[in-house]
Subunit: 411 residues, 2 copies
């Protein structure tokens, strides 16, 4: 019917805008899975394939798929389910136990990258505000990819995994503060310190309250609620509604939606049934490839026309990897150098969070298009480089058996 060039195909897809939907779904999902298979055969984590798929099919590759609002939303849903699944495998009490190490690791892992990014940009002759934004973009870790790798290796209960997860939550709060400060510097008026203090308190209280009381409360409420409901798959309905509530509360309190999703999963970790785990995994299996591909899709190699931009990108990338690794590693040095190296490597991926900071800077006119491209390059490449390194560093670490269902395995 396509060759008839008449309104009939509209019957099939309801509105020309989404004509492309089945094709888009097939290309993104199919390539993510195809390259995940290739990655596995090359003894790399399958997740790398999903990330590379986005580069291959996107503007930097064949240009078949553009990153649009729809893919963005599906990616958001995918990363929410990814973190929710990870949360389901993690007990809050275990995270609280490693709290001090995680706090130190997060603080040093924020300070070093910020200083490194700022110093490099200033040395390269960029304006102060642009340099500060690059530093800010290098601050925030995106823990989804690391969590995925650790889950598929069955080591989420390893103490380094717990430090990484706890540090990532703290890192998100710190990243929020850094972005708030630099955003207000980009505006004429200067920082709104009172507002900043309020949001700090709100976000910290939110995270602590959920981590401390969420599990106990959910353990009391959810099973009873589920039992009293007659709707099909009531446990899934309750769990996913809770996930969306927590994601929303997280954004209202100032932290990322995915932190809410992680906390929601953690609150349900001790009561979730095996059946719920499998249903959530099914939803995740469908949506996560869109998240992975969306990262590579955002890479835009067209900004690398000048040699100096390429050099800047490589220097920034090296600094982003080294400063995070060293900063977080130093913070976790009390665990011994091997585990410290694991924690540092796990915090390296900046993923979607780094890109968002760069977008804010671009919209505020604080950074130029080439510098934006460099920040995105840094965010994408740190994310792609981390899984093979983690794979290597965790070689020989025994999967930790858990009483709960099998580990999350997405690819």
């Amino acid at each position: 019917m396509m060759w008839m060039n008449q309104p009939v195909p509209a019957l099939l897809v309801a509105g020309g805008e989404v004509d492309k939907l089945p094709l888009q779904l097939l290309v993104v999902f199919g390539f993510a899975k195809l390259l995940a298979e290739v990655a596995q055969r090359l003894r790399m984590p399958g997740i790398v394939g999903g990330l590379v798929a986005g580069i291959v099919i996107g503007p930097s590759g064949f240009g078949w798929i553009q990153y649009d609002e729809l893919l963005h939303a599906m990616a958001e849903l995918g990363v929410m389910f990814l973190l929710f699944q990870v949360g389901l495998e993690v007990k809050a009490s275990e995270l609280v136990r490693v709290g001090k190490v995680a706090l130190l690791s997060a603080v040093l892992g924020v300070a070093l990258p910020f200083v490194a990014g700022w110093a490099i940009m200033v040395a390269a002759g960029h304006p102060q505000i642009e340099s500060i934004f690059m530093g800010a973009a290098m601050v925030a870790t995106s823990v989804g990819i690391t969590a995925q790798v650790l889950a598929s290796k069955g080591v989420l209960s390893h103490r380094t995994a717990q430090v990484i997860l706890a540090a990532a939550v703290i890192d998100d709060v710190l990243g929020l503060l850094v972005l708030a400060v630099v955003s207000s510097m980009a505006r004429a008026g200067g920082a709104d310190w009172a507002g900043l203090a309020v949001s700090t308190v709100v976000s910290v209280v939110f995270v602590l309250a959920v981590a401390k009381y969420g599990s106990r409360t959910a353990g009391l409420v959810v099973p009873r609620l589920t039992q009293s409901l007659r709707v099909d798959e009531a446990e899934f309905a309750v769990a996913v509604t809770f996930l969306f509530v927590m994601a929303l509360l997280a954004t209202y309190s100032g932290v990322a939606a995915i932190i809410g999703a992680f906390l929601a999963g953690m609150a349900l970790a001790e009561t979730a049934s095996h059946h719920l785990h499998t249903l959530v995994r099914g939803a995740g299996e469908l949506m996560v490839p869109f998240f992975l591909a969306s990262i590579g899709l955002q890479l835009d190699t067209s900004v690398f026309r000048s040699g100096s931009t390429v050099v800047l990108a490589l220097v920034i990338l090296a600094a982003a990897v080294a400063s995070k690794w060293i900063g977080c590693g130093l913070g976790a040095f009390s665990l011994g150098w091997k585990d410290a190296a694991r924690v540092g490597a796990g915090m390296v991926p900046r993923g979607e969070v780094g890109m968002v900071v760069a977008q804010v800077g671009l919209k505020a006119g604080a950074i130029t298009q080439p510098v934006y491209g460099v920040a995105v390059f840094m965010a994408v490449l740190t994310t792609i480089l981390a899984p093979p390194v983690l794979n290597f560093l965790y070689k020989g670490v025994e999967p930790v058996p858990r009483s709960s269902p099998p580990p999350v395995e997405l690819g």
Copy 2:
């Protein structure tokens, strides 16, 4: 952070456009599940709750949610998974066995509604082309809702369920032809009969080839492919890729993407593992509520300002129910009047398909806004009325035990 009115919340959601995502997800999913629970307690199928939720939260209700491109895409994905799940429960050989009854039922179930819709509009003084479009909008059955109700009652193996599913596939091909003809009438040039003949042949060949050879081929290829892959959850990756391929081929050959999804499920029905069923159900549980709500979201009661439009809407609704029920029932009369009534009732919902026809007419300038509103009203109400009727008609029908996994139960 929201009260600070500064770019910081962008950190949380990457671009103001999707600021609303977690809230949108929560409202749509949460209300669909909440009202499904209410429906179950009123001894109605849970699916009715999902449909009504769309009305409650949409423009006809509180107006919290607008039907946008994103919800449309999620609804598409939801209905694809719904039909895929149904296909997984159905054997092609069983559908072929009821082919003759289904064909007669589908043909009469297309002819009567078309004539009824056209005649009523002409009698009410509407132009010929507008009357013909209303007839066309009343033709196409949307089988998803019925399939859902039958699956949740465990009667997908009942012969009436098989007639309904087979008739729905034939109905979709017929509906395509009717729309092609009326669309070309709406254009100046008249019908392109050669192109029409080609698309008829292509769509019929596609459906027959998949129904006849799909299962055998998939039975040979998929298990071997799955075994040879190293990617995590390989069976799910293969099955979902196959689903998207079939949805795409379906749209290329002229039928709806959901028909491709149904055929894909059917081709895998005999080889799918229990684990695959559960993963697919998880994905469906997440996405289907968006499909259900999207139907109610499209209802627009603002066109009902004049009494004559209200009367027209009610007459058209009554005619749409009666003509489909009687037409399909007559075609299935060889099964006895009880089963004929079940088949007829199962074919009543027009759902998204009827709305698309009306959209085509609106865009072509063939129908006016109030008549478009009437067609949407008809499509939404036939869809909401059918489940309770089916629930009543299938009372006392024993669930048919299957060797394969438990029935699809979404709500």
